[in-house]
Symmetry: C2
Subunit: 462 residues, 2 copies
């Protein structure tokens, strides 16, 4: 990052992961930043029912690298994970590497560890101030001022700055007030599935047969269990199942229901879940939301980042990575445009929106392959065939997963490249098939000729 100094004051609404990272970027640029967070006690950050384990991949790490935090994140709070172990109901397993060469890991870390790391870093910066227990209740997008109610004193106060960054998540108050000022298209969709976090605690040190350097996936068609390793010997499991119908959140109400369900569908792993029924019946249900908004900024005064403008479902593990990428892109645009913040914001939106839209789509699509073992293996096979056929023809061949996870190529470009590969693979596949039939008919032809010649010779002999 350039060392050019830009002097400005800014308000970041939301002291979650992306709010803190953005504050650090702004501080590096010479700005004064005030971060306002609704939650009050910063030490006992509440577990809101959202996934507690996160996947740090190339994009997230690249943003952390710019702030010299990549190594700390990798070494002190993460477990490298090299692929997914798929457990069938017949207790067999197969392994799907996260990268084509099987050697590039993703880094799994706890949301709370990462948050603590970022908070401690931000608190150490002289021009960043963190305010807790501040609920945003109003934004004036023309003035760049924000009203907060102090959750302790219940008193409302107003703060102004050169600009405001809305990093306040899926239910963003900044976005809501922005859309009141400038109406725009907005869409929130929820899947008919829910999830609950469950703890998997293998008793023996070797993980009870669960490799700590892969994720684990028990796809069962209508529902699935997914597990990511923690820093200690345990795993965080995510049980995904329909909200209604048979084998659903609705149908599993008693301890017996839950115990029988898990014993039947997840017999290998349920013995490793000592608090299963308790956790399943008491933990908050989380749902899968996608949020899209056609407006991300207002003039040079307000701009949104992260979940506030593009909540995606977590199946691709890219929500946080995309939010961190937002921070890096927004910071680079602000540096590039200097005082012309309106152009910086507009360019940031133009660079990001098509890509987060693409991410939203592939994130929902990715679920199919995770939950359904048959579709999973069909898709895996198709992807591998497609990559191989492309490489056979000496063309670039990379799985979509690899591009999304291990590169920083814009999401939309990854999707286009993958589609191009698939198309080429279909043609190449067709060519192979045609070559095969051509060869067979040539062989047929030749052998028929040979036979004719032989029988001709025989008749001559006769």
């Amino acid at each position: 990052m350039s060392s050019q100094k830009v002097t400005f004051t800014s308000i970041v609404v939301g002291g979650g992961l992306s709010g803190l990272l953005m504050a650090m970027y702004l501080s590096r640029m010479g700005g004064r930043v005030q971060v306002f967070e609704r939650r009050s006690v910063r030490t006992s950050w509440p577990r809101s029912g959202r996934s507690i384990n996160l996947l740090l991949s190339a994009r997230g790490l690249s943003a952390l690298r710019e702030l010299d935090l990549e190594e700390t994140a990798k070494k002190t709070i993460s477990v490298p994970v090299y692929g997914r172990t798929v457990h069938t109901i017949a207790n067999t397993t197969s392994f799907v590497p996260y990268s084509d060469d099987g050697r590039k890991p993703v880094h799994i870390c706890s949301r709370w560890d990462l948050h603590r790391m970022l908070r401690e870093e931000a608190e150490g910066l002289p021009n960043v101030t963190l305010h807790y227990g501040q609920q945003c209740v109003g934004v004036d997008p023309d003035k760049g001022s924000v009203s907060f109610v102090d959750t302790e004193t219940k008193q409302q106060h107003e703060v102004s700055a050169d600009f405001v960054i809305g990093a306040d998540g899926t239910y963003s108050a900044v976005r809501e007030h922005l859309l009141r000022r400038v109406p725009a298209n907005f869409e929130q969709t929820v899947l008919s599935l829910g999830y609950r976090e469950l703890t998997i605690r293998p008793e023996d040190q070797d993980g009870g047969g669960l490799d700590r350097h892969t994720s684990h996936d028990w796809p069962r068609g209508r529902h699935m269990l997914f597990a990511l390793p923690n820093l200690d010997n345990s795993f965080s499991g995510t049980m995904i199942l329909p909200l209604n119908g048979r084998e659903s959140i609705e149908s599993l109400r008693t301890e017996t229901d839950v115990r029988e369900f898990f014993a039947h569908h997840y017999p290998d792993v349920s013995p490793m879940m000592p608090d299963l029924t308790d956790e399943f019946l008491s933990r908050k249900l989380a749902t899968f939301l996608t949020v899209r908004t056609s407006r991300w900024h207002h003039r040079d005064k307000v701009v949104l980042i992260g979940d506030a403008c593009h909540t995606v479902v977590p199946f691709y593990g890219q929500g946080m990575n995309a939010a961190f990428e937002d921070c890096a892109v927004l910071a680079s645009r602000l540096l590039a445009h200097g005082d012309d913040r309106e152009s910086a914001f507009a360019e940031y939106v133009a660079l990001r929106k098509p890509n987060t839209d693409a991410l939203a789509e592939i994130s929902v699509r990715h679920l199919d392959g995770l939950v359904d073992p048959v579709r999973h293996s069909i898709r895996e096979t198709r992807h591998r065939m497609s990559v191989r056929l492309n490489r056979l023809a000496r063309l670039p061949g990379t799985r979509l997963y690899e591009m999304v996870t291990h590169t920083t190529a814009p999401y939309a470009e990854c999707v286009v490249a993958a589609a191009r590969q698939e198309r080429r693979a279909r043609w190449l596949g067709l060519s192979v098939l045609m070559a095969f039939y051509a060869a067979r008919s040539w062989i047929d032809h030749v052998s028929r000729r040979l036979r004719q010649r032989r029988s001709g010779m025989k008749s001559q002999e006769a």
Copy 2:
């Protein structure tokens, strides 16, 4: 309405038209009602840029009738209007009656007059309390409690009751907090058009040729002017035009731009607009929003009414009528179910949602016919033909507009009935056409026979 007493306490968030009407309904049922409104000074209700003239039709009047307010509304604050006068660019006019017999009027009244009437009525009720300057900043949908910040003291306080009604409009805070608790699908779409209110003030008493008992419509393809009579001699004009492109909000920036635009496209009416350029350039731009949410209530604690759950574009003039109908239906369900409020709320949603969804669709569709003179006349002709063909076959034939405006048949049923009529009209039309061809071919056949016979006779003679 039955006189059965139900004792409960309730909070209505939003003291607009539907909030006040709902409060009156609840009060009649024996409930204690507290209404909380964000705006502070109740006398100088701000003109927010929204349409200031409203259309009261059968549904709205029916809801007012139940509270003995119909006659007051009709007689003291409304102008009866019997149809639409369409003004062409060539300065000719045509008239489209609002009812099939041309005798049933709709009642045009000012939003502020209607609001004042309802406020005064509500204030007169002993068990209704109105609180002003109260911004809703939180709802606990499980407890039925609401947090407000007093806009004067800036202090937050909490209120609880048996249940909460969200009547706080398009940008409903109650809905927002409801959707945080129970994620649901939500969609807000905005048209690429905007509108500004303009005053039309004919100098002479007879309205300068503008009939005060019709609405007036100057359709110009890309844009249009629409006018509704006020209680005095003036009309409220609504100028609808695209946000961008040629002849748009964006392209009309100077007094000269505006004056030339109106002189060119609206030469007959612009001389009657003394403050045209001022109003056009200074008044707030309003946009056309549709809001849909898949969740309208939470258990027996929170329920939404009006724009909060179904904002529609105003082209059909049904937004307020639908909101008033909500109040009547919700009240009747509460009376029917007594203490089982959850069933009452669920039944209310089941009765209303399919209908307001249908209204949202026909409201957007209705714009085409208003703005585009060609489409307008094609559609009018088709509708008339369809009604006539149905009646010719002694089948019920009523225009969709008539059913929506002059009956209280559920919106979705009106749409289905209109579609059925159109289908029948196509078949009837086809039958007429077939009968015509059949007749022609029969005549052909007969005349050919006659000719043959004659030529046969001639050859015999020869």
